[in-house]
Symmetry: C2
Amino acid sequence: MPDAPYDRCAMTAAANQSGRRATASRRLERAGIRDVAAAAGVSITTVSDALNGKGRLPDETRSRVREVAERLGYRPSAAARTLRTGRSGLIGLTVTTYGEEPFTFTEFAYFAEMARAATSAALGRGYALVVLPASSRHDVWSNVALDGTVVIDPADQDPLVSELYRSGVPVVSDGKPGNCPVTAWVDNDHEAAVLEILDHLSEAGARRIGLLTGTSTDTYTRLSTEAYLAWCAHVGQEPVYEAYPAHDPAAGAVAADRLLARPDRPDAVYGLFDPNGTDLLAAARRYGLRVPDDLLLVCCSESDVYAGTEPPITTLSLKPRRIGTTVVNLLIDAIEGVDSGTGVDVSRLFQPRYRTAGSGPPPGTLMPTELIVRASSQRRSPRTTISAPRTPGEV
Amino acid sequence: MPDAPYDRCAMTAAANQSGRRATASRRLERAGIRDVAAAAGVSITTVSDALNGKGRLPDETRSRVREVAERLGYRPSAAARTLRTGRSGLIGLTVTTYGEEPFTFTEFAYFAEMARAATSAALGRGYALVVLPASSRHDVWSNVALDGTVVIDPADQDPLVSELYRSGVPVVSDGKPGNCPVTAWVDNDHEAAVLEILDHLSEAGARRIGLLTGTSTDTYTRLSTEAYLAWCAHVGQEPVYEAYPAHDPAAGAVAADRLLARPDRPDAVYGLFDPNGTDLLAAARRYGLRVPDDLLLVCCSESDVYAGTEPPITTLSLKPRRIGTTVVNLLIDAIEGVDSGTGVDVSRLFQPRYRTAGSGPPPGTLMPTELIVRASSQRRSPRTTISAPRTPGEV
DNA sequence: GGCCCTGGCAGAACCGTTTCTCCATGCTGC
DNA sequence: GCAGCATGGAGAAACGGTTCTGCCAGGGCC
C-alpha cells in the first residue's frame, strides 16, 4: 500500500469533508459518499468510480474503497443518482380502472399473471415495476421518475400515451395500439385464436356457434368479436352472441343465461372471459343441457379450475407470462438502446425518439395462444369439418 | 396587470436564464422550472411557490405562473424533488419468492387481492407502489428511494427489515412479526379463526377433524397449526394432519390424498390453503366419500369458485382487501406523521425513529376473518338442502 | 533531454428542484 | 418623519451523487 499518496489524499479529503458541514454535529445520519471518501482517504470521484466499476483505478484502491463503504453501511442515494444520470431503474405498468373501484387488474387471472411475469422480468434485468392507474393524469404520474412504461391495451389516441411520448418516455403496449405513438407492442393473435376455436367446435359437430363477448372496446374484445363475425360471414352462419360489461362479475352469469335462452339457441358457445366457463356451465344445467352432448363449451381462461370442473372445460390460454416477459424485455431494450444519457445526442434531436427510423408503424409482435382441449368441446369425432381448415397466419 | 414590476422581473429572469446554459442551443428539451420562470418573468422561487401553493403570493401571480407552466407543458422532475425533499411518494411491497420462479405472489388469491387493495389505497393517498422481492438485498432495494415499505410476513430477525430499519425507512408488516423492528403490523386473528372453524365443524357433527397444513414457517401456517393442536389438546382429540409445501401446486393434491388415506381417517377436514378445497373434493371422490355426508370440508380461500362447486364448499376469507388497505394506511400515517423532513430534528435524534415512544412492542392490529358457511360443512341439524338452487345473479 | 502517453486521482460543474434568508417597497400608527 | 410591519419576491444554498476536465508523476521513445 503506497503511503505517501495516501497521506496526501487523506488531508485533502478531510479538508473537503470539513468544508461541507461546518454547522451541526450530525451523528446518526446516513453515510454519504463524502463520508466514505474521507474514511478511505480518497476523493469522492474515486469512491464513485470504485463503486461503479468505472474510471482507471488499481484493484487495490477499488477494493479498499469498497471495503470502507461496506463498513460504513454506505448506500448511494437513489434520488441523487437518478437526478444526475436521468435513469431511475423504474418502469411503470398501467392498470385499468373501472368506476368506483380503482382496480380490476387482478380481476382476471390474465392480468395477474401478466403483471407477475412483467415484474419478474423487470427485476431480472435490474428494474423495478411501479403499478399506476391509466387514469389520473399528472397527479401520480408526474411524481415518479419512470424510464419507461408498459401500457395495457391503450385506447385509440390514448392521452396518457401521448403525454408519455411527449415526455420522451418509451412506451410498449400489451395489446395492438390503435393510433398511438408506442415504441413497440405485443399482442396475442386474437383472430387466429378465435378462428382456431370456431374451427375446432365445428369439427366437433357444432352447427350454430354462439359467442359470449364484452361491451367494452378494448382490443381483445374488439378483435375477437370481429373475427367471430367474419367467420360467421365466411361459413354462412347467422351470428349468435350476447355482450355484457366484462368488469361486472354478476353480469356474466346473466348474459350466459340470456344466450342459452334465445330461440336460436347455439349448440356451442365460446366465452371470451374467464368466468364464462363456470357461468355457462351453470346456465346449461339450468336449462337441462348436457355438456358436451347438447352444448359444446370453450372459454378463454388462465385458470386451471376448468381442468377439474364437471365436465372439464376446454380453455384458450393467452399465455400471459410470455406476454408480460416479452413486453418488459422490449421496453428495457428500448430504454437501454436509445440511451440519450450522456449529454444531448444532436443526431436524433429533431426526430421522434424511440421509434424505428423511417417512422412507419411501430414494430409489433404477435404471440400465439394455446388451446387446451378438454371434454367440454369433444363430441363426435368423425363428423368432419364444416368450414375449411385455415392456417393460423391468415387474418 | 402591473407593468413596472413585470418588466423588472423579466429582465432579471432573462439574465438568470441566459446565465445557465451558455453553451448549446438546447431545443426540444423538456421545460424546466427555469424556463417557466423566464417565460413568466418571475424567479424560480416564485414559480415553485406558485405551483406548490406555498409562499406569499397574490392570486394574480399564482394563476399567471400556473398558466405559463401549463402552456409550456412543464412537469417538475420527480428525481429533483425527491432529492430535495427526501420524499419520493413511493412505497415498497415485498413479495416472497420460491426457488427458481421468482414470484409466487399471485399464486394465491389472498396476495393478489391484498396487493390490489394496497395499490389502490396507496394511490388514493398519492403514493405509488413498487413491487420488490423480499430477497435480493442491495441490488434492487438500493436503487429505488422508498418512503416506506410493506413487508409481507417477515421472518424472525428478518435481515431485510433490519436493513430498512437502519436506513430509517418505516416498515409495516402484513403478518405479526416475530422479532423485527417494524413500525406496526396487521394480521388476521388466526387463532380465533381456526377455533371458530373447528367449533363449527364440531357442531356439524364432526368427531375427528383433520388439518391440511403447510411445511413452511410463516406466521399464518404456524399460528393456525398451533391453534389446531391446542384445540385438539383441549377437546381431547388426537391430531390428524398432513403438511406439504404450500407453494407447490401439485403437492396439495397428494397431501389431500394422504390425509384421506390414513387409517385414522378424519370425518372433517380444514385445509389452510386456497386449492385445498378442490383437492380434498377430488380426493374424497376417489375414496367414495360423499361431502358433506361422509366428510365435512372447510378451506381457507378468497376464491368464489367454491360457491359453485358440487357441493359448494365452506370457506374462510381472510379479507385481504381490508388487510391491504389497513397496512398501507398505517404505513403512510407513519411516513407522514414522523416527517423528519426539514433539517435535523434533534429531539429524536438518539431515539429509534418510527416507534412509539417507550419502545414497547410495535402496535399491531388483529383483523377479523369471515367464515362463509356453505353446504360442505353442514350435515345434521335440519338436514336441509345439499345444494340450494341459485339465481343467475349469484356468483 | 524534451515529448508524449498513460495511469491515478482530485476539483468542480451539473442534474432540477425546494426552501431559507433577506431585501425592497408601501403603508400604518404615533 | 420614522419605527415597525406586512407584502411580494429575488438570491443562493442545499440535496447527493456522476462525470468531465485536468493535473501530476513516471516511463518509453526519439
